[in-house]
Amino acid sequence: MSRYLLRFGALGYLALILLVPVGFVFYRAFEHGVGPAWDAVTSHQAVHALELTLLMAAIAVPANTVFGVILALALVRSRFPGRGLVNAIVDLPLALSPVVVGLALFLLYGRGGWLGGLADHGIKILFAVPGMVLATMFVSLPFVVREVVPVLREIGTEQEQAAETLGASPFQTFWKITLPAIRWAVAYGVVLTTARAIGEFGAVSVVSGKIQGRTETLPLYVQAQFEQFDVQGAYAASVVLALIAIATVVALRAFHPREETS
């Protein structure tokens, strides 16, 4: 009896908070048929926003993947003073308000900031793609590191040492031993990084200046359309983002084969 109570309580909560709202947005987007929704997402502004969003991800995800693996190696395999602090700093983007991230970049690269002089030399960071990429890199930094660190801890260094004893160069050891061992963790981290990079709103919102047709990503486009009373356009773009999110969840399942027997 209590088991059913718990089951329906838990599933009911999930339905009310998560499933029904997301489902309802799909309903709203296609309420007047597929035509208007399709027109909304293929408008010039929406397509540009989607392209810009994908560009952000195309730069931030590879950077955070390569440096994420290196960071994980540094955290697990070497000891240096302040390692605990570095560990906490890697997690910080997960716990810090995205608006604070955006503001920090704004103050660093804005007028009077330490690197504000770059603008005078024609290197535009704020209200342009570079600033938005930096914001995206900041908020999506922890995911690959966090997935790879526990796997590196678990595999230890015995195989790498064996490879080295047999004359493998450090580069060969990495490609043939370390990388295959962590590849699923890297893949999982990449999916999480991509999802975060595509969906980032707060940090990008601060540094982009939200210039329509220029620095507007798809999440920013959703807000702009909603505030301009183009609710149809906002719902349609939301559905595109929701589909990306669902694809992400499916990919996470595929990359995370858990040995659950139940």
Binding site: L14, L71, S78, A88, D91, L92, P98, L108, L192
Partner: protein
């Protein structure tokens, strides 16, 4: 071979060459500094630029204090609800059997993957003006709480689930055979084992909720002294040209985030201690 033997004794210790060498360390720390530390240093520096008095003045402005209180209060309520609901969901996913369990398990990650602005719009469509249920929480604190619950849903579930999966049912069976009721078994045996995981999930959910922006911005209406949270306040101050006010409150949020992360580190150490003793 002496160095090899030492390394074997300490498997995660010093290693060699490219893999974890000083080059990797330098590159990693350089990247971290450029992307994360430098902007945060600039933020802290900016907040202190006008002196400690100005900083204090900005942080103690009534609107800033009210926003900060609301952020902390709403995040605390959200964390508490998550502690109960998240543990219950994790329990159902691990111990219960029903059709479609795999799908439900996958769906838990959706708030991680869904852009926060879409989460906010989604809730507004259903629980806002003109919604199908006739419920309207737009521009209220209830709406704010709903948005926070949506984005923080996975934290406790995903923290508790693996611990529950590994938890041996033998102890519970022994307790049951000795006549303990199911409530007593949960309270005396299961709960103490889950507590560190619940706490670290709750702490992450709290940190996330304190700083949430995207999900909140549409549904809360951002009414000063009523539904305006700190992140929205910071955004507003920056828009109206009060950069130092925005920076001051941001430093407070930064301190809260760091504090929560250090707390989570402590929970983790506690949990590993429990694992191996």
């Amino acid at each position: 071979m002496a160095s090899n033997a030492a390394a074997l004794e300490r498997p995660t210790g010093a290693a060699s060459g490219l893999v974890g060498g000083s080059l990797a360390r330098g590159v990693a720390l350089g990247y971290l500094s450029l992307v994360v530390l430098l902007p945060l240093a600039a933020l802290i520096w900016s907040s202190r630029a006008d002196g400690a008095d100005a900083f204090w003045h900005q942080v103690t402005r009534p609107e800033a204090v009210s926003a900060l209180k609301l952020s902390l209060g709403a995040a605390a309520v959200c964390a508490l609800i998550n502690a109960v609901a998240g543990t219950a969901i994790a329990w159902v996913l691990v111990r219960d059997r029903f059709a479609g369990k795999g799908t439900v398990d996958a769906v838990i990650d959706l708030p991680f993957a869904l852009p926060t602005i879409v989460a906010g719009l989604t809730l507004l469509a259903l629980y806002g003006p003109g919604g199908p249920f006739g419920v309207d929480v737009a521009f209220t604190r209830a709406g704010l709480l709903l948005a926070l619950l949506f984005v923080t849903l996975p934290f406790v579930v995903r923290a508790v689930q693996p611990v529950l999966l590994e938890l041996d049912t033998e102890m519970e069976e022994a307790a049951a055979s000795l006549g303990a009721g199911s409530l007593a078994i949960f309270r005396r045996i299961v709960f103490p084992n889950l507590l560190p995981a619940i706490l670290s999930g709750v702490a992450l959910a709290f940190a996330r909720a304190v700083g949430e922006f995207g999900a909140v911005v549409l549904i809360s209406g951002n009414i000063p002294f009523k539904t305006e949270v700190s992140s929205v306040y910071i955004f507003g101050q920056l828009q109206s040209g009060n950069g130092s006010g925005a920076a001051a409150v941001s430093v407070v949020l930064l301190a809260i985030s760091l504090g929560v992360l250090l707390l989570i580190g402590a929970f983790r150490r506690w949990r590993t201690k429990h694992d191996y003793v």
